[in-house]
Every structure is written in C-alpha cells, then in structure tokens.
Subunit: 310 residues, 2 copies
Amino acid sequence: MNPLEGFEFDRILSEDITTRTINLLGTLPAPDDPSKRLPAVLRLEKTALPKESASVLATQVLTDFSILDHNDVYSWITARTRLPAKDEATAIPADWKLYLICPASPQHISKYSEQARFFVRETPSLYETVTKKWIESIPPKRIEWVYNILEGKKEQESIVFDDKDPELGFVLLPDSKWDRQNPHSLYLQVIVRRRDVRSLRDLTSAHAQFLKHIRSTIKKVVPATFVYVKPEELNIFVHYQPSYYHFHIHVTHIRGPSTGQHHLLDDIIENIELSESYYQRRVLVFPLGVEHPLYKAMEEADPIREFLNS
Amino acid sequence: MNPLEGFEFDRILSEDITTRTINLLGTLPAPDDPSKRLPAVLRLEKTALPKESASVLATQVLTDFSILDHNDVYSWITARTRLPAKDEATAIPADWKLYLICPASPQHISKYSEQARFFVRETPSLYETVTKKWIESIPPKRIEWVYNILEGKKEQESIVFDDKDPELGFVLLPDSKWDRQNPHSLYLQVIVRRRDVRSLRDLTSAHAQFLKHIRSTIKKVVPATFVYVKPEELNIFVHYQPSYYHFHIHVTHIRGPSTGQHHLLDDIIENIELSESYYQRRVLVFPLGVEHPLYKAMEEADPIREFLNS
C-alpha cells in the first residue's frame, strides 16, 4: 500500500542541506471522498548509514556508476541504489524516512515553512526594554511541564539523576531528540531546581559555584550511567535564546549533534569569573527567525533596525 | 563500468551521523594484475536533496513503503528508491556520492580513520608553555600557500575582494568547501595581510579597529557580490584551534554549515572591548583529536592530565 498514492506536489516549504531533509506541501485525496483533496505536509529525509550494513552498502547496494572525475589516486563517482529483491530486503536498509501530516493545518504548514533568519544584536538595553518584557509576558502555563518534572508528577521513569538540593539541585533526563540507542547521538537535559534563573542573561559571578557543582556532577554521573562515554567527551552547553525560560543545560556527545549557537558551560563559568556582570554587560548576537515573536518585538522597539547592524 | 568491481570490504574507518557519510577501508584488484589487491579508502555519502527534483522525489522516486506508525494526522514511513529507467535518469538524480582513493597510503587511511576526540582545557600557562612552542615549531613552508595568495602568485582568479592596506587589509576568496552554487552552502575565507596574528590568542583590544574594519567591509562586499545574501545573514567566525596559524576568518550563510567550535567575530570584538587581554587570560576549551600533535604535546607537558579535567 502506497500512502502517497495520488499525492500532488504543490511547493517546497523548507530544506536542510546538512541533514538531507526537505519539507514539501502537497495534497492527497480524502480517504472517504477521493474527489476532495486534503493539504499534506511531507518531510523527506535520507536515512543515516547503519554501521551493520557497511559491507552490504559497498558491495551490493550500488549500481549505475558514473565517474565524474579522476586525478592521480582519487576518483569522484555518483551512483544509484539498486532496489533489493524481496529476500534481500532485510539486509539492505530502507534509504528514506518519511513523515507525513495529513490533513495539515495552517499551523502545521507554517511550522515547516522556511522563514528568513537573521543574526540579531541584543544590547543590554534591548534586553532590558524588550526581551525581558517579552519573556515576562509568556504565560506561566508554558513551563508547567518543567514544574511537573521537578515536582515528580511527570516523566519520573526517565529521570537519570535527581539532585534534590533546592539551591544547587537539578534533574537530569534524556532529551526527546535522543533515540536512546546511538551513543553518538546521546542527548540529555539538565533542568535546575531553582526558579530564579531564566537564561544566560541572569547569570552573574554569584552563580559560579552553582554551575561548577552541576558541571562536576554531570561529569561523574553521565559516564557512570552511559558507560561508553568519557567525561572529556561530554559537550555541555546552553542556548541563547533558549526554547523555554527556565534555566536548563544540554549534554551531548562530542561526535553528536552541534549547532552554531552554543555557549559552552566551561566558557560561561570562565566569563562570570573574569567579570562578575559579564552577561549583563555583553551585546549577545544570535540567529532569530523573522516570524519569532521576539523578532517582532525588537523590530517594533527599534524602527531604525539597529538590532540587525553593527 | 563499475569502479567498485571486485571491492572487498575490510572495516569501517569512521562515520558521521549528521551528514550521512561513512568511510570504509577495503581492497580492489590491481588493474594490471588482478591477482594483486590494492588498499582502497571509499567514502559513501548520500547526496543532498536538490530543490529542482522535489516534485519528482515525492511522486516518482519512492517505492516499497512501510508504515512504521500512525497517530492522529501524523504518519512515520520508510521507503526505498526506485531505480529509474534510462530515459528518466536525468530527472531522477543519483542518490549517492562516492569518493574513492586507490591505492590508499597509510596516511590516507589514518586521515579517514576515526580517532578519539576530547574537550581539552588550554589554560593561559598551557598556551605559553606548550601550544605557542608547538605553533612555532611548525615549518614555515606549511603556510607558503597563504603567502602565495597574498603576494598575488596563486588563486588570483578566485579572489572576490582584495584590500591591499598592509595593516588593515585582507584577501577574500571562496573556501574549497563551497560548491560555488548552492547559496546556503556559501563558504568564503578572509585571509588578513598582516602576519603577526597567529590565532585568537594573539588578539587584544589593540585589534578592535582592525576587526571592525574587516567586519564592516565583509558586510558590504559579500552581499554586493553574492546578491542572494543579506549582511545580517552572514555567519562570520573564527576557529580555535585553527587549521593554520595565520589569522583568517570564515564567512558562511546563516543556513549553512556550522560546527560547535565557532567564535563569532561579533563576540570576539565584544570580548576585547570589555577586557583588553581577554584572550590572554581565558581558559579556552576546544575539542582535539588524540592523534593531533598538539594533543600529544599537551599530554607530555601535563602528565596528570589536568588539561582534560575541570
């Protein structure tokens, strides 16, 4: 059965050249009335290369070779995937992963649509007058899921480590981005117990001991729990802007996913020790989508758009 | 003609889960004497999804669907690539890119082999006693290619912009990582004319005007040359450690390739303006392969391995 039977392509919503992913908009016939068409968002993603199939990949999967160029010992070649026979299908893994949303709402479509993203410059005064107000306007309900975890109401079976000290304590648990299998895609999240730190901007030298306590605990607990990872392989970082405003820290493997806007916990500790109000005095530069409410708030507050230029 | 005819798989050298790349070691029969076998390094890489083929991809390429799960409007599906008929082959792009090195030398094999990488902590004193000495021991011949560009002897046809001022000047040219086609994979390099800055560690507040001059020039020149990119879409950053010790700056698109160890030029300028000897006083943390000569030098100088722990 072909779940894309009758799919009609409309347009590309977005693409990601690094992860070989593309999001399309199209339509599918309604199951109960094929004369009616439903909007459908379709994400096409090439699968990662499984180590177990490496030998099969090189010797059985490829066909239709075309040699692009050749220089000394080096050759550049393109090839196609041969469709496996029925009995081979378990040895030759599927090469596409699809994610289909149908019928797709306007919110779904906008979520997967490309939006322009720009580097913005958040000066201390722009933080005080715009960002802080915007953060304070976010309904508290949005981080109730965080309090549910901290209060032991949700996701308790997932918790890897729980430090119950009200000042220094935190909960360590897997991030939803981790498949919980591949050691290199390890992804954990540290959610702190104290509720008075919204983001990087609130950290001062007074937090150095607190952050060092978290760092040394993570470096002990994570390698003890996930024995394939060493303390010096842990990538411990913070996002600014974060996706929610209750202080949290990301923990990944040094070979794992990494994006541009990381602030290493090590760097943060260094900075607040060098200069006590470092994060209150710094212009912070970060990428921001133009559809983001914070972008819109900055644009309104700064009509000459100084937040975009330096 | 199949360039992998007779390929025998030996082992996986390394893999990259993000870019869907895997490096294999195997052997191929020698062209002049098929009884002899030659070592071969084979990189298998899934191609990126070309926008032009999006409609073809969704409607013609996929087959062998398998629905993994289904919840409300969401479905997760795997699929395979149908091998196109001869006359379709131009519309349906090749799905693999191969890079073959044969015969591969031990150096080739080691270059593509996975090595353990750890976060190291370079204190100011470790920089002074180990890193600086190691940098000074690198034969000057290694950066002759840089001087060839600056002196107008090589790659002159590629130069995008040339600021000839001996103090503030720089050359702007495409990086070899850029295909020079996809706007999102834009990758340029700024090589400064002055020869007294090896890396981030040499920058002080005295360089603020120099760096600001480069920043403002790039933000004017790049969007004027590559008209699809806006100044606020430029990701301008420095690596530490860099791959060569003559000060240079990377310029990419905000949607383009990004790795963890970026120091934004904006952040660098902020830091030296906040504190004049910021980069001389900071512990700098960065990932380093254990086969890297700098790693070995650090290990020798610090037998209790404090450079690994915090």
